[in-house]
């Protein structure tokens, strides 16, 4: 395992104000994740795992604590700086795919590169390569509604990979897929992990979490357990 952690979370807290009440979604979380780990974050509803996912994904900022991602202190960043980090360091895979419905698979995959300011000719080649990596070389010009659920999720994975991010962050990646397709997607994740990609997956399904090498369980906004399943 590498010496420097890619993610270091110290005493992380996130409070939400709901009317007069203050809800503590995260209440002092400490996690370190190293390059090329395959981590599943689990927990029941209300455990704070969605909040954790938003924190790791730089979509939200903590109310207290520190978050270091690939050497940047993310917890104090502005909106636009966070956007930069999301663009460069994080590849998202969502439960609902979150593809732009009117754009082709290729254009969807190109999006992160557009915001990275990559030239259009380079962009196209890289997007094509990413789609080829997930086995969709022949579906590049299809729109999301012309693709199956599994194919859509592959497009999303290609999009997540195209910017060569530090972490692949998946939020219930198989939540909208049948079991066969779920296995297919898990195979893709395993392959990516084998190729050196750091994968973090948020899920509430134990059999999906099974694929990860390390499972962190959250409960009531705290780390409940953190165990290695297999050799990473």
């Amino acid at each position: 395992m590498s010496t420097q952690p890619i993610i270091r979370v110290r005493d992380l807290a996130r409070e939400y104000r709901m009317g007069v009440e203050t809800v503590r979604a995260l209440n002092g979380v400490d996690i370190e994740i190293f390059p090329n780990e395959y981590v599943a974050i689990m927990g029941p509803s209300g455990s704070g795992k969605s909040t954790m996912m938003n924190m790791i994904g730089c979509l939200d900022t903590p109310t207290a604590g520190e978050y270091w991602l690939a050497g940047h202190e993310v917890s104090t960043m502005s909106d636009d700086e966070l956007a930069r980090v999301r663009n460069a360091e994080i590849g998202f895979v969502f439960q609902t795919f979150n593809l732009l419905p009117r754009a082709s698979a290729l254009h969807n995959v190109e999006l992160p590169l557009i915001y990275a300011g990559v030239k259009s000719s380079v962009r196209r080649t890289r997007a094509e390569e990413a789609l080829a990596r997930v086995g969709l070389a022949d579906r590049m010009h299809h729109k999301p509604n012309e693709l199956s659920g599994g194919q859509r999720q592959r497009v999303a994975i290609a999009r997540a990979l195209v910017n060569d991010p530090s972490i692949l962050l998946a939020d219930e990646p198989t939540g909208n897929l049948d079991s066969v397709t779920s296995e297919e997607i898990m195979t893709v994740f395993a392959t990516l992990h084998r190729q050196g990609q750091t994968v973090i997956m948020v899920t509430h399904e134990p059999d999906i979490a099974e694929h990860a090498h390390r499972v962190i369980t959250l409960k009531d906004g705290k780390v409940h357990s953190d165990e290695l399943r297999r050799a990473a």
């Binding site: 938003n54 994904g57 979509l59 939200d60 909106d79 636009d80 956007a83 930069r84 999301r86 663009n87 460069a88 998202f92 969502f94 979150n98 593809l99 732009l100 009117r102 999006l111 992160p112 557009i114 915001y115 990275a116 300011g117 259009s120 999009r159 910017n163």
Partner: protein
């Protein structure tokens, strides 16, 4: 994100939402269309008035001394009219006195006109303007002789029964034959055709080529005016400045001849092309003042419509905005995206407005006597205003989109 990228994206969005775009730009479209159409017509009128109307009817640097104005710009009351027709007529003697008295170099001619029938071997042309004029008339009017010649000073002196034909008239009366040397009859008296004037075209749809010009002292003098009287003395100078001097000298000479006391008003009229142009300038001013207001109103309405459609679009595409933000779009990327979309939409509407406006101007030109002339600045203004309205209308929706929280935005279905 580069601008051309944003524009391409905007055009894509516009293309996929053709109907919505069409509705959202109706206001801008109509505003710009009217701007272009009205400006084209006003420009056309402008050109027409300066180049043709004033030049043709009154002549450049030319004054007309008349009993009363031929072109009256305001409303003429019955009293004014009655006082006008009580005025003494301008006479040949008046004309000669003015010509002799003017200190500056000039060309002068006098004219009297009436309407009559023209007959050639049983062929009759009715309601023809018969002008009895002196020899320099053609020079002052800028009428070139296409065939034959104009009459000379000697022929005017001697009252030679010769005439020069207007172009249309020559074509109609002498279809296929050479009119030169033929005899036509006006009120039973024969005149010899010695020339044909070059085509003068038409003015607001009225032909300017149905006339004959005969010598001032020819038999026609008997019916165009009472003995010794003329309709107008025409004096042409080399420049505007000289024309002004000619006007004041003519006025002075006439006042002396008519024994007017200092308090008396002129009992004659001196007209120049400027008078007509002044009148036109006034209309023009009113139009140009009313136009921005009319166009402005439709543009404001158009802007509000675009703003609302953009707000709707932001709401509809909240999820898209969330996705884009999660992938690294910064606030300003989203802001630009929507601003460019709004500006592009509006510009497309404005461009369509420019096209339709030009078409409308052409249609108006072809079905009415109003001329049209496209002012390039109006096209630039139209498109510019379109883009401007789009940007202004887009600011609020775009900043709303830019401020959206990515988590909330992606949660939206």
């Amino acid at each position: 994100m580069q601008y051309w990228e944003a524009i391409r994206l905007a055009l894509q969005t516009i293309w996929t939402n053709k109907m919505k775009t069409a509705f959202s730009v109706v206001g801008v479209f109509i505003g710009v269309m009217f701007l272009i159409a009205v400006v084209s017509i006003v420009e056309g009128m402008n050109r027409y008035m300066t180049d043709r109307f004033a030049g043709t009817l009154l002549g450049v640097n030319t004054l007309h001394l008349r009993r009363f104005p031929n072109f009256e710009t305001g409303e003429t009351t019955r009293e004014t009219w009655l006082s006008w027709i009580r005025r003494p007529r301008i006479t040949v003697d008046d004309a000669e006195a003015v010509i002799a008295g003017l200190s500056i170099h000039h060309v002068a001619a006098w004219e009297s006109a009436s309407r009559a029938e023209l007959e050639y071997r049983g062929l009759v042309a009715r309601d023809i303007e018969v002008i009895a004029a002196s020899d320099r008339y053609f020079d002052i009017k800028g009428m070139a002789i296409e065939e034959g010649r104009a009459f000379s000073a000697q022929e005017v002196q001697g009252g030679a029964p010769v005439l020069v034909l207007g172009n249309d008239l020559a074509k109609r009366l002498f279809e296929g034959i050479d009119p030169l040397g033929r005899e036509v009859k006006i009120r039973g008296i024969p005149y010899r055709v010695i020339g044909v004037v070059e085509r003068q075209g038409n003015l607001f749809g009225i032909s300017l080529d149905k006339f004959v010009v005969t010598t001032a002292m020819s038999p026609a003098k008997r019916f165009v005016n009472p003995p010794g009287a003329i309709d107008a003395l025409l004096v042409k100078t080399a420049s505007q400045g000289e024309l002004q001097q000619a006007i004041s000298e003519t006025e002075a000479i006439m006042r002396t001849r008519r024994h007017l006391r200092p308090r008396d008003e002129d009992n004659f009229a001196i007209e120049t092309a400027d008078a007509v142009l002044d009148f036109w300038a006034k209309i023009n001013q009113v139009l140009m003042l009313a136009l921005p207001m009319l166009v402005g109103i439709s543009l404001v309405v158009g802007g509000i419509v675009i703003m609302n459609i953009m707000l709707m679009s932001v709401t509809e595409r909240t999820r898209e905005i969330g996705i884009r933000k999660s992938l690294g779009a910064r606030r300003r990327d989203i802001l630009h995206q929507f601003l460019v979309e709004s500006a592009t939409t509006s510009t497309v509407g404005a461009a369509a407005g420019v096209g339709t406006g030009l078409l409308l101007a052409k249609i108006i030109e072809s079905i009415s006597p109003l001329p049209a002339s496209v002012a390039p600045w109006s096209i630039v203004l139209g498109v510019g205003v379109g883009a401007g309205v789009g940007i202004i209308a887009g600011i609020y929706p775009a900043s709303r989109a830019a401020r959206l929280d990515p988590i909330d935005a992606m949660r939206q279905e």
